[in-house]
Amino acid sequence: MSTDDAFADAYRAHYWAVSRFVARRLDGQAHEVEEVVAEVFSIAWRRRAELPDAPLPWLYGVARNCLANTVRGLGRYRRLLHRIGHHEAAHGRQTVDSPDTERPGSWVHDVLARLSAADQEVLRLTAWEELTVEELAVTLGCGQSAAAMRLHRARRRLRAEIDRTRMTVSVRAGDDGNG
């Protein structure tokens, strides 16, 4: 398979996954997400000679840099990451809890936002992009042991924040947070 064919396959297979990656991190409208995704694949195209056999974590890595560059110029990156809890509202979508699933509301996003940017990213990549530690290392551009350590510490800090929040929520609103 030629490099171009491999790229086309990766594009088709992962277009939506990359879109979700961008949407989760960009407090923008759908067309803004689409523009950033187009830029991600444009950069990936120029670097297609580097495309690995499992391209998704690599594409996430490209998207991370692209996203940072995209919003850095606007001076919004940090602010946007902290506003991620309002992401669904920004897109006009409401979370509708189905009867059989627990959908923690924006409080989980609030908890996440209290962590460092590095912790947030490693947690998002694991929970939302569902990366393994090996894939995490590719996306973050670090070694596997470093990735595992970063995830371990981030989870611990997230756990602590959740416990603290649950305690507060329980005290304030009874059993609300324990669906």
Partner: protein
């Protein structure tokens, strides 16, 4: 209660099974984006020449022409093809007149008259490597046949050949690396079984989308699928006339995917008749010995304004016969002299 990662998972703001970014087929804009990228590779040689950006100034092509011509003497088909010379003394057919002829012919066309997916063409491209160790430019002649049938089966065949010098070795360009191959060497051959319509290549929008028979719709399609001059995003920069060279490149790309029938041909000629800066240059005999009418554009090309594009049409039917891009200025930093050919395509039914 799940662990902290389960909680986070459940709060995913962009789910794979729901919402605007859920998994599913690509929408048209995403397909278009992919096509633009793939298309940019196909025409990169030509575009590279057209754009001729500032970095070209640092190229060290070292004795390019000396190499080219000395090698031609040793039998390799690397000499640049000589530019076609339209006969200005012959009566020129205005494009509007040719559009009317093509439209008249289109009205009598039957259901079996196309368009047909696939194409047959001979081409030369000037190929140059860039960078301090760059080797001299060579021309890369080849013949390409792509055919698709109604049952979704198809075949592709690319042969290295130079009809001007039959039997001579031919230079082949593989990803910027040159090899001498025998005339007639098969560079690429692939067959697709019936039902390949679901295959990756067949899913490409350019392959799936028939060229329209309405000139306006065709212009839009050239802009959106082939990046050609119709005001598509990213193609609007520069003076309006600079869209015409992009339009001609887009037509070349379309012609590599499809063989138009009389109805599509009529739309193509009408689009050309409406294009700015394209003027009749007289009668010409093309590389395959066919008589045609040449129409040239030598206005702003979005780069150094150092190129002339020519499209050759059959004066009776308006059928696209070929295209040629030549340099109109000396470009000493690229060792290019005015009049040299950058690319040439000859399309066959």
């Amino acid at each position: 209660m799940g662990d902290e990662l389960d909680l986070l998972r459940a709060a995913d703001p962009a789910r794979a099974d729901d919402g605007p970014w859920r998994d599913g087929p690509l929408h048209a804009r995403a397909e278009r984006g992919l096509n633009r990228l793939l298309h940019s590779a196909r025409t990169k040689r030509a575009r590279r020449r057209l754009v001729l950006r500032a970095e070209a100034a640092v190229l060290a092509l070292g004795a390019a022409l000396a190499f080219t011509f000395s090698d031609a003497g040793s039998g390799k088909a690397v000499a640049m093809p000589v530019a076609l010379a339209p006969r200005a003394d012959a009566p020129a057919v205005p494009l509007a007149e040719l559009a009317r002829r093509a439209e008249a012919r289109a009205r009598t066309a039957g259901a079996a008259d196309g368009p047909h997916r696939g194409s047959h063409l001979q081409s030369w491209y000037l190929s140059m490597r860039t960078g301090p160790d760059a080797a001299p430019p060579v021309t890369v002649p080849e013949e390409r046949i792509t055919r698709w049938r109604a049952d979704g089966s198809g075949s592709e065949l690319v042969v290295a050949t130079d009809p001007r010098l039959p039997g001579r070795p031919v230079i082949n360009d593989t990803g910027g690396s040159w090899h001498t191959v025998n005339d007639g060497k098969v560079l690429h051959r692939k067959t697709y079984p019936a039902g390949s319509a679901d295959g990756q290549r067949q899913r490409r929008l350019t392959v799936r989308t028939k060229p329209p028979t309405d000139p306006g719709a065709l212009r839009d399609q050239l802009a959106t699928l082939y990046g050609g001059g119709g005001g598509g995003r990213g193609d609007t920069a520069g003076p309006a006339g600079a869209r015409t060279p992009q339009l001609l490149l887009a037509l070349s790309s379309l012609r590599q995917e499809w063989t138009p029938g009389p109805r599509e041909t009529a739309a193509i000629v009408r689009v050309l008749a409406d294009a700015e800066g394209l003027r009749p240059a007289g009668a010409v005999t093309d590389r395959l010995g066919r008589r045609g009418q040449a129409y040239v554009y030598d206005g702003p090309d979005g780069g150094r304004n150092a190129t002339r594009q020519m499209v050759i049409l059959d004066p009776r039917t308006g059928q696209l016969l070929g295209s040629e891009i030549t340099f109109t200025k000396n470009l000493p930093d690229l060792r290019i002299r005015s009049g040299e050919v950058l690319s040439y395509e000859a399309w066959m039914p």
